[in-house]
């Protein structure tokens, strides 16, 4: 479609053609508007249908579409003219825009910058808002974002490195959360003991999912993993004896500072360290906990990429048949990717349970999987920095909008951007598809170099077939 369009403009489409095209779009809009928009139906008191004609709105919509299409064609025309002057250096490969953008150029600096910002956030927030209490909003937002960063990094192993499209990642998040909740409430095990157990349980489930889907590829794999996510959720709802059903599990033991509870009593955290009690201590601790977990995920992933297993994952994404011809057991390679990705999901899940103190199946619906996958795809599959940026944008973005006062002035007092989250998702996805089809950071850094490590253009990197 895009190709056809470009070809069309390349042939030197005149203004008349563009006008005709925009007119066509307006006409289609009109056709769509007639049944949907043109009459507003209200039930009157006599329960008869009142039809209110709204032809003004229809005209406005058609006009808007006409104008937008006109502008789009103009912009495309200008861009193509510019492209024609500077031919792409590499015509033989796929015509995907892969020139390094600003994001890629700063990505070397990005890591220390992010790390510094993340470490300093609670302090800065406390200083800026005058005390830990008022800084709560920022610290909680930080926790939320970091949870998604961690989930994104975990899923990145499966989707970004091994190229296996997993639409049911939230299942492992749920397994981790329930493992911690059940172990802690029934056996009274501590968080630090439950954390590895939750990771192991999730990894086990990852293998369980891995086995049946090993032979599937592409769409089929996506469908089965999606179903797996739903099955886990339905099991959680229906196995009432174990999981409490839709009521969930409440009064999960809260996080302690390595055994010292965050309470006001004489044995509490504040008293032990000679501080005055503040309920926010726990949140700050949780913030640094998830930061540490996320950094561990990142560190392990970066290390794995340089080990043979990581290279085998990427090779699997590039070409599975070639892998087998080189003696790589693709079955175990895929299973380890599933298991490790799931393990990090399990860690994040048990963190979620210890933070909330309450979990129910509702927290683990498909939308969560979709958000995590969107983070990986938007970030640029396989890129750690890209995933972090995408998580901040996807999770922090709507929050940011909420705080913009002028939006309320424009859209009315009751404007809540969270209600528009899906719309924003959609817009972000479409925008990315148009401008950065390979994600924010589309350059792949090689895992090893003979002389100098140079980024590989995203146009050459395959996205996997399964």
């Amino acid at each position: 479609m895009a190709d056809a369009m470009r070809e069309g403009t390349a042939r030197g489409a005149g203004l008349a053609e563009i006008l005709r095209d925009a007119g066509l779009y307006a006409l289609v809009t009109l056709g769509l508007c007639i049944p949907i928009v043109s009459y507003r139906t209200d039930l009157s008191q006599t329960s008869a249908l009142d039809l209110t004609p709204r032809w003004g709105v229809v005209a406005g919509l058609c006009g808007a579409i006409f104008a937008l299409r006109l502008v789009q064609r103009m912009v495309l025309l200008r861009r193509d003219a510019r492209r024609a002057l500077t031919p792409a250096p590499r015509q033989a490969t796929e015509a995907v825009d892969a020139t390094p953008n600003a994001g890629q150029r700063i990505s070397g600096l990005a890591l220390p910058l992010f790390l510094g910002a993340a470490l300093a956030l609670p302090l800065v927030a406390a200083l800026a808002s005058g005390g830990l209490g008022p800084a709560r909003y920022w610290i909680d937002l930080g926790i939320l974002i970091l949870t998604y960063v961690m989930l994104g990094w975990g899923l990145n192993i499966v989707v970004g490195l091994a190229g296996l499209l997993d639409l049911g990642y939230v299942a492992f998040y749920a397994v981790g959360a329930y493992t911690y909740a059940l172990l802690a409430t029934t056996f009274g095990l501590s968080f630090w003991l439950c954390l590895p157990l939750a990771g192991l349980a999730a990894a086990l489930w990852g293998m369980l999912l891995g086995f049946p889907v090993l032979r599937l590829r592409g769409d089929y794999l996506a469908i089965v993993t999606l179903a797996f996510g739903e099955i886990i959720r339905l099991v959680l709802i229906n196995w009432v004896d174990l999981t409490g059903g839709s009521a969930g599990i409440s009064s999960i033991p809260r996080a302690t500072f390595f055994g010292i509870p965050f309470t006001a009593g004489p044995n509490g955290f504040a008293a032990t360290f000679g501080l005055s009690f503040d309920a926010m201590h726990r949140n700050v601790f949780l913030y640094y906990l998830i930061l540490a977990l996320a950094l561990i995920t990142n560190g392990v992933t970066l290390r794995l990429r340089r080990l043979p297993i990581g290279r085998a994952w990427e090779a699997l994404r590039e070409d599975e048949i070639a892998c087998r011809s080189l003696g790589i057991n693709t079955t175990t390679t895929k299973l380890t990717a599933f298991a490790l990705g799931a393990m990090f999901g399990g860690f994040a899940g048990s963190f979620f349970a210890v933070r909330q103190g309450f979990i129910s199946p509702e927290s683990f619906n498909f939308l969560e999987s979709a958000i995590i996958l969107a983070i990986v795809v938007l970030g640029g599959m396989g890129s750690q920095v890209g995933v972090a940026v995408a998580a901040i944008a996807m999770v922090g973005g709507p929050e940011l909008l909420r705080n913009l006062g002028f939006l309320k002035a424009v859209f009315g007092e009751g404007f809540d951007p969270n209600e528009y989250r899906l719309l924003l998702f959609g817009l972000a996805m479409v925008a990315m598809m148009v401008w950065r089809p390979r994600g924010l950071i589309s350059v792949r850094m090689p895992s090893v170099a003979l002389t100098q490590r140079r980024g590989v253009s995203g146009a050459l990197v395959r996205e996997g077939h399964g």
């Binding site: 590499r90 490969t93 392990v300 290390r303 794995l304 080990l307 043979p308 297993i309 290279r311 085998a312 990427e314 090779a315 590039e318 070409d319 048949i321 070639a322 892998c323 087998r324 011809s325 080189l326 003696g327 790589i328 057991n329 693709t330 380890t336 792949r444 090689p446 895992s447 090893v448 170099a449 003979l450 002389t451 100098q452 490590r453 140079r454 590989v456 253009s457 050459l460 990197v461 395959r462």
Partner: protein, 291 residues
Amino acid sequence: MSGVIDPREPVLTVEHLSMRFGGLLAVNDLSFEVRRGDITALIGPNGAGKTTVFNCITGFYKPTEGRLTLAHADGARHLLERLPNHAVNRRARVARTFQNIRLFSGMTVLENLLVAQHAPLMRASGFTVLGLLGLGGYRAAERAAIERARLWLDRIGLTPRADDPAGDLPYGAQRRLEIARAMCTEPVLLCLDEPAAGLNPRESAELTELLRRIRADGTSVLLIEHDMSVVMEISDHVVVLDYGVKIADGTPGAVRTDPRVVAAYLGVEDEEVEAVEAEVGLVLPSAGAEA
């Protein structure tokens, strides 16, 4: 099994190999041998079943019938049709290239050669566990693997491009890299599916040089090739396939003049068949039936 091993003994023995796809018998009761230290060529017109034979040998297809035996110099024998796909490379040490190049195009040239050394590196990294903790000899093993890769890069003349993505290389270089990648698995038998396809004469000459070198270093080669100049120049033994059936088997010189081979290759064009018939002085049964 021990004792003196004849250096001319077969490294690969194909016995009564048949491969059926639904109603199509792509390979029909094929038997031949690849002798150790030889370059054996498998030739035949398009659709003769050559790639299918390769896929059976390398474990991508399970043959409908037949036995494929691979013998190592130490006497160990592997029945290839019983091995799982990846084990054909890892245990039986058979490596291959593909008719349509299958490189890891988004990975660098060097990375491609390291992926090929997966098994030894995996062992050195303690199956990831030790490597993750930074213990054991993984670093040394990786350095050795890079050295081996570098050796092959020097041989195929791609050392300056080691850090470029494989997908960015020109076609001829990609073909050579695929061969080097297969060689990095340290195979006993190397199967090449049309390595000279799409190469210019200079690249073809470089390829024959490379294959000679591989043979000299002790790896036996099984080669599918359409470029007869390459086949005649370097192969020690030629097996000719037509419609899944072996029609000739012998030295390049003998096969070149075999009337059935000539007919199979030229069979499409009537005048040429007549010319060949006249030259060979023989009326072929198939050509006669068609006429």
